[in-house]
């Protein structure tokens, strides 16, 4: 997937397959834009998801999450980048 750069809005991407459903990111998000999904991932966890709107790009969820690759945070004005 190629993300177009210079976007005005911050956002967060959660790789559902790498999420262990611990809920720490959801608990910590200051603007409450993360939620626990109903689906089960391949490891049998309910992964966190982004509500799709309102992320400020603060990065707090990234630093709460124990999984190296589960969360990627894009700050406002991030440059073009290929995200796989």
């Amino acid at each position: 997937m190629v993300e177009k750069g210079g976007l005005e809005k911050a956002k967060v991407i959660i790789r559902e397959d790498e999420c262990k459903g611990c809920g720490l990111c959801i608990e910590a998000c200051p603007v409450d834009v993360l939620f626990e999904q109903n689906v089960l991932n391949r490891m049998g966890y309910h992964p966190a998801g982004y509500k799709g709107e309102g992320c400020t790009g603060c990065g707090i969820c990234f630093y709460q999450c124990p999984e190296p690759g589960a969360i990627t945070v894009f700050k406002k004005g991030y440059v073009e980048e290929e995200v796989t």
Binding site: D17, G23, Y63, E67, G69, I71, K75, G77, E81
Partner: protein, 472 residues
Amino acid sequence: MAKIIRKSDSFYPIYEHKSGAKDVTHYCPGCGHGVLHKLIAEALDDFQIRDRTILMSPVGCSVFAYYYFRVGNIQCSHGRAPAVATGIKRVFPESIVISYQGDGDLAAIGGNNIIQAANRGENITVFFVNNAIYGMTGGQMAPTTLVGQKTTTSPRGRSVANEGYPVAVSEMLATLKAPVYIERVALTDAKNTNKVRHAVRKALQIQIENKGFSLVEVLSACPSGWKMTPVQAKQWITDYMCKQFPLGVFRDTSAEIEPSPAVKNEFISHDLFKKLDIPDKPFRAVKSETPPVNYQNPRLKIAGFGGQGILLLGLGIAQAGMQMGYQVSWIPSYGPEMRGGTANCHVNLSNKRIGSPVVSQPSTLIAMNLPSLEKFECEVIPGGLIIYDSSLINRPPARKDVEVLGIPATKIADDLGNTRIANMVILGAYIARTSIIPRQVVVDTLPVFIKRKNLVPLNVKAVDKGIEYVSQ
């Protein structure tokens, strides 16, 4: 700051661990280890030190850290990471050496290791994950388990009367003079996690600037061991752990120390020889005489009383053998008491690589007292050689399938004025009988292993007496 916050390059893209998916760690949901890994990896990226970082992983849940960090990795035995880190850092001073340890690893079995490394002020960075429990083995009590905390081995809660107080590692190490930076931080909310991030970076920066020893104690959640949800576990750190383990900086002298470049200790071999008092010329790699087949590649057991110079005799044979270009090994085995007890040592000289230094079936036995002869006679291989001190042993060996050489070594030494050089008489006898080492090589090597140089001439005399006795 970067516009995109994501998985660090200092992690491998995929983890080659044996079980489970290759893109996730083996840590439980909500485990503090994962978060600390991320903070360390990010610092390695930002400081551009990944290529020269060597990480010591411990025994504990983080035993597999080497599957994740794309750096040099060594998995150390339990609690010994600071000792391994010391060795690595001293050999590669320009490397960044991280000792990553849990509380069982660092504060229980490895307690003394960390104290000594801190006290020496090793220029290493220690990340100490205090989760108040043995996570890996299923939640047993650790030295850091809180008063009242239930674990599988403190099912009624840790009691001070029975198990003592939790060990406050940071406070304890801060009583030492050498450490440069010691801080306790906690992986809880965003604010505290940011402090962990800064502490990690500071500790690494101190090593980059060669300022000395730093340790960051990280209070960290173990939801599985504590039997809590990840969110509850974080709250428990705030409500309980931080009370018994107050956060803060316990030592920081980093501002007072000037940064300095890494100094590489160069290994100069001839210098080493000089320092060890070994002749500064290449070893004679050629064996000047070929001993008869049955004496080649000898496996020796040398035994007697403590005080007879048994170990020194073995050392002399090994040292001279090394001079000849043989592969050699020497291992001592002390009796429980040093003097008056029994002593023996195992020596190998070989044209081939030596597999084991242990000699259980000697081709040559040197027995300098009766108990040694009685004990080891049966071990000698058929066709082997037994040399014994006939002035102290009043019965010759009973074996008929071996070659026997009795020599009154102690008596000869006594006549030379010093009974303690009986071992050198035996050495002379041994080389004369076997031609394994020329006399001149032994004479050249004596000053290397005889500490009191004024005794060297007397020792040469003793060797010559041994040679003379056999040649008669």
